[in-house]
């Protein structure tokens, strides 16, 4: 396996790979695996992140001929990672079994626990975060893949609309509309968890 060399220019490595030096791609895998795992880890469940990150590098290799040497490789790779995560949720959405409208007793209990933990000083921060993540996961599972991605990237991660649009390959207006709708839906879903 090649060693990590930060001084080697990404563009040169890409040129080498395109010229037939497959092993040179190992530099890029090594250099950007942390970043890609971080991007993928934001969107995909922990247990599946490794597999999705694997797919990101395979897709990047297959699409290397479409890389335009004007921009940065990291940005280009990030866009592939985000779109792979989006594809993952599109597949999940098609095969899911949870009806959009229904909310289970477990959802209600989960929300109650978070609400109670927020006001309870005794509950540890770690426990509160664990419960909050579970609640958020349950709510996000009820959103469409488009709404989910817009909400996660702008509202939860804190990216700008322009940055999210660039990574997703959407227009800025589309991201803004999705974000507005998904925030409203999230509130409605969480309120639904409260109802008896």
């Amino acid at each position: 396996m090649p060693t990590h060399t930060t001084t080697v220019d990404d563009h040169d490595i890409v040129r080498r790979v395109i010229a037939g030096d497959i092993n040179a791609f190992g530099f890029l895998v090594q250099k950007y695996q942390g970043h890609i795992l971080s991007v993928v880890g934001n969107h995909i469940p922990y247990s599946q992140a490794e597999e999705v990150a694997h797919d990101v590098f395979v897709k990047a290799y297959q699409s290397l001929l479409t890389f335009k040497f004007k921009g940065g490789f990291k940005q280009w790779l990030s866009a592939i990672a985000v779109r792979t995560c989006y594809d993952f949720w599109r597949k999940e959405y098609r095969s899911r079994e949870i009806p959009m409208s229904s909310c289970s007793e477990e959802d209600r209990v989960c929300l109650d626990r978070v609400m109670a933990s927020q006001s309870n000083q005794i509950t540890s921060e770690k426990n509160l975060q664990k419960e909050a993540r579970e609640l958020l996961g349950r709510a996000l599972d009820r959103l469409s893949p488009e709404d989910r991605m817009a909400l996660e990237m702008v509202y939860l991660e804190g990216l700008s609309g322009k940055e999210a649009a660039g990574l997703l390959g959407w227009s800025v207006a589309n991201v803004k509309i999705r974000l507005f709708r998904s925030r409203k839906k999230l509130r409605k879903i969480l309120a639904g968890f409260l109802e008896d």
């Binding site: 396996m1 395979v58 297959q62 509160l128 664990k130 909050a132 993540r133 939860l156 409260l194």
Partner: protein
């Protein structure tokens, strides 16, 4: 039951914080090796791509042009006032009784 604004903002902030402090996945050296193994199995550039894959990648790019061509042809046919029934009737009247339909397109 509905949230009051204060409670909801508090809940939102808790959710955002929990999301941002999510544990990042870690991979082993074996993972890196399996990625490279897969890459090597794909082979070096240029890949041999099937015509179907090529169409999937590039065919859609011609969709707008194809739509324009279809629209122009439709407009042209409408403008021509072309009616196949009339043409057939005209042909039957003009041609002797032995003439067959095969002769019509010039075969």
């Amino acid at each position: 039951m509905r949230f009051n604004k204060k409670d909801y903002i508090k809940l939102e902030n808790t959710l955002i914080k929990a999301y941002r402090e999510k544990e990042k996945p870690k991979v082993s050296e074996q993972w890196e090796m399996s990625v490279m193994q897969r890459i090597r199995s794909l082979g070096a550039f240029p890949f041999k791509t099937s015509p179907f894959e090529l169409f999937e990648q590039f065919g859609w790019r011609f969709a707008p042009a194809a739509c324009v061509v279809i629209a122009l042809l439709t407009f042209w046919i409408v403008k021509l006032d072309f009616a196949p029934e009339d043409e057939m009737a005209k042909f039957s009247i003009e041609q002797p009784i032995e003439a067959s339909y095969i002769e019509m397109p010039g075969l």
